[in-house]
């Protein structure tokens, strides 16, 4: 696939599911502590999300960095919008802001607001 094809493919993935996590490994078998943290937060909030393992495809691993102008993985997308990586997601979760975004965007999740 060309660079453009990869960008188009990523665009389709983040549009196809309400919550998409580009991560190293899978939600059941994370391969990196940062990816695991974000998957755990989403799991804790009871959010149904699509996991895309960037280790399966080098072109996706590089392509996602260009897509969001963000140099690291994991990357969380809600309703097509890039939310952040591990630090930002954790900070937002602890502040209750992640839950607010999910509610505002109409994504089903647990009502809990505090830390795991």
């Amino acid at each position: 696939m060309s660079q453009q094809d990869i960008q188009d493919w990523i665009g389709k993935q983040v549009a196809a599911s309400d919550v998409v996590l580009f991560m190293k490994g899978t939600k059941t078998m994370p391969q990196c502590g940062f990816s695991m943290q974000v998957a755990q937060i989403l799991g804790h909030l009871g959010v149904d999300f699509k996991d895309i393992n960037v280790l399966d495809d080098m072109s996706v691993r590089e392509g996602i960095k260009a897509y969001s102008n963000w140099p690291t993985i994991p990357q969380l997308y809600i309703k097509g919008e890039f939310i952040g990586g591990c630090d930002i997601v954790r900070e937002m979760f602890q502040a209750g802001e992640l839950q607010e975004i999910l509610t505002a965007k109409g994504v089903a999740h647990n009502a809990q607001t505090q830390t795991a």
Binding site: P71, G84, G85, D87, E91
Partner: protein
């Protein structure tokens, strides 16, 4: 590959001269850092934008020479 904390601070200072920077070497291996940066430049920006500004200051080293840099950014 690793990077010294002083080098990280120097690059950040170059782009944000007013910044108050604190860098912690989390594992003592020169590869896992936490940085907290306070700069007027962050005012009115989203967290994603603030972190993107720091990554830009690091000139492509993030995700390469620098594997893990936990970021906390804020305006004074």
């Amino acid at each position: 590959m690793a990077m010294a904390a002083e080098e990280i601070a120097r690059l950040i200072k170059e782009s944000f001269p007013d910044a108050e920077i604190r860098i912690e070497d989390l594992a003592g291996d020169g590869d896992h850092y936490a940085a907290s940066i306070v700069s007027e430049a962050f005012r009115g920006k989203t967290r994603v934008q603030q972190h993107q500004m720091v990554y830009a200051a690091l000139k492509g080293r993030m995700g390469g020479a620098l594997h893990a840099l936990a970021l906390k950014t804020a305006a004074p």
